[in-house]
Structures are given as structure tokens and as C-alpha cells.
């Protein structure tokens, strides 16, 4: 036992780690990141091809099933990944537990609202404005 102990005596006795859900969060962030690599490249290329497009061109683009489905997947993965990332930022910088809780709940609900609004808009455009 010459090594310096990094864990508190209580932590050593319980042996339960941090008691939070780090691994699930970590995995979800990676999986959504992997999904966003092809989706992000596709989305960026699409935006370039749509630069300056009018509304009818945008609607025609979303009429195709591929564009509409990929756009919905992009929005879902994007806001999921963003809410996971923003959660960590809040956890790192929030001054107190109350601020942290309110901040995380706010970010998660806002991400859900924006994702649903975006997906609804895509569906409306896809099925004819």
C-alpha cells in the first residue's frame, strides 16, 4: 500500500465507482457521433447544392424519400448528440446542483422541441407543403 490512494475511504469500501450513468452517456455520444459522420457530410453537401434555392426547389428535394428520410435521421441524431454534449458542458460549468438540474432539463426539453419541430417541417414539405 505504498501507492497514494486516489479513492476516498468510503468510495473504497463501497466500490461502486461514481454512482452515475457515465458509460451509457459515453456510448450514446459515440454512437450518435458515428451516425452523424455520414449524415453530416450528406447534409452539408445537400446544403451546398441547395445554396440560394427557392421554396419550390427545397420542397421538390424533400419530396424524394431518400432526402426526407436522411433529413429526419440527421435532425434526430443531431439534437440527440447536441443534448448529450450540452449536458456535459452544463455538468462541467454549472455553479450548483440546482442550476445544473434546471440547465440539463431545459436543454433536453429544448432539444426535443426543436427536433420535433424540424421533423414536422420536413414531413410537411415532403408531403406537399
Amino acid at each position: 500500500m505504498s501507492e497514494k490512494q486516489l479513492r476516498s475511504p468510503l468510495g473504497r469500501a463501497l466500490g461502486l465507482g461514481s454512482a452515475k450513468e457515465g458509460v451509457a452517456h459515453w456510448w450514446a455520444q459515440r454512437v450518435s457521433a458515428v451516425a452523424l459522420v455520414p449524415l453530416g457530410i450528406w447534409f452539408c453537401a445537400s446544403l451546398v447544392s441547395l445554396a440560394g434555392a427557392d421554396r419550390l426547389t427545397l420542397m421538390a428535394w424533400l419530396h424524394g424519400p431518400v432526402a426526407a428520410v436522411l433529413m429526419i435521421l440527421t435532425l434526430g441524431a443531431l439534437f440527440y448528440h447536441a443534448s448529450l454534449g450540452l449536458q456535459v458542458v452544463i455538468e462541467d460549468y454549472a455553479p450548483g446542483e440546482g442550476t445544473k438540474l434546471v440547465g440539463i432539463v431545459f436543454v433536453k426539453l429544448l432539444a426535443l422541441l426543436l427536433a420535433v419541430a424540424g421533423i414536422f417541417a420536413v414531413l410537411k414539405l415532403a408531403f406537399g407543403g
Binding site: 439534437f79 447536441a82 419541430a117 414536422f120
Partner: protein, 150 residues
Amino acid sequence: MHKLHPELAQKEAPVSGFSPMTQAERPLSPHLQIYKWPLTMATSIAHRATGLALSAGAVFLVWWLVAAASSEAAFADAQWFFGSWLGLIFLFGWCWSFFYHLCNGIRHLVWDAGHGYDLQTAYRSSQLVLAASVVLTLVAFIAGVMVRHG
């Protein structure tokens, strides 16, 4: 908030929720302002900063889509904004943020797989990510301008 026994209070201040008796002797490190800024540190905080910028950009993306789904006038407002100088500066910033976060995110995934941790490789990949993000941004932005005016 709670009163400590005087003997305990003389020791170091407790971290919230722990009494001084349960303190482990964890090593202390100097804080940010002590270090100079190596490139690896800059690319690390830039990943978070671009993530925040892209989150803000996602709000504008939804605005654009909802405007298109709402009416011709609402979409014209959105298109006017994205075509304005401020809008173009924002688009350029999001474009670079996207490619930076994409490239550095792939770098993170490589780290997660257990590769590229030695110092020289970490510096090299920092430089590679920065160079790739700038080149990809310029390519995408110039292509977008050409599509718009071509």
C-alpha cells in the same frame, strides 16, 4: 453550510457532501492559467466551442425548415437573413465549426479505439485536423457560392 467541529474546521475545507475525514489525498494540479497553451489543448477546447456553435446553428436550421413549411413570406425572411452579410458570416462560421467538429470528432473516435495517444501523433493529428477543416470549409463555401451564382 453546516458547522464543523473546531478541530476539524482547522483542517482543509471539506468538498461539498464530504467530511474532512473521508478526504483522499488526491494529487492537485495547477489550474489553466499556469500552463502555456499547447496546440493539443487549443484543439480540445475548440471541439467544445464548435459543438456549442453548431448547437446554436441547429436552432437556425430548424427556423429555416419551419419557415419553409410555413409560408412563402416566412421562407423569404429566412433566405434574406442567410443571404445577408451577417447570415453569410454565420454560415461560414458554422461551416468551419462543422468540419472542425467532424474531423476532430473522428480523431476522438480513433482515440476511443485506443490509437494515437503518443505526444508526437497527438500534435500531428491536431495539425491535420486544423488543416483539413480549413480546406474543407473553403471547398464547401466556394462550391456553395458557385451553385448560388452559377
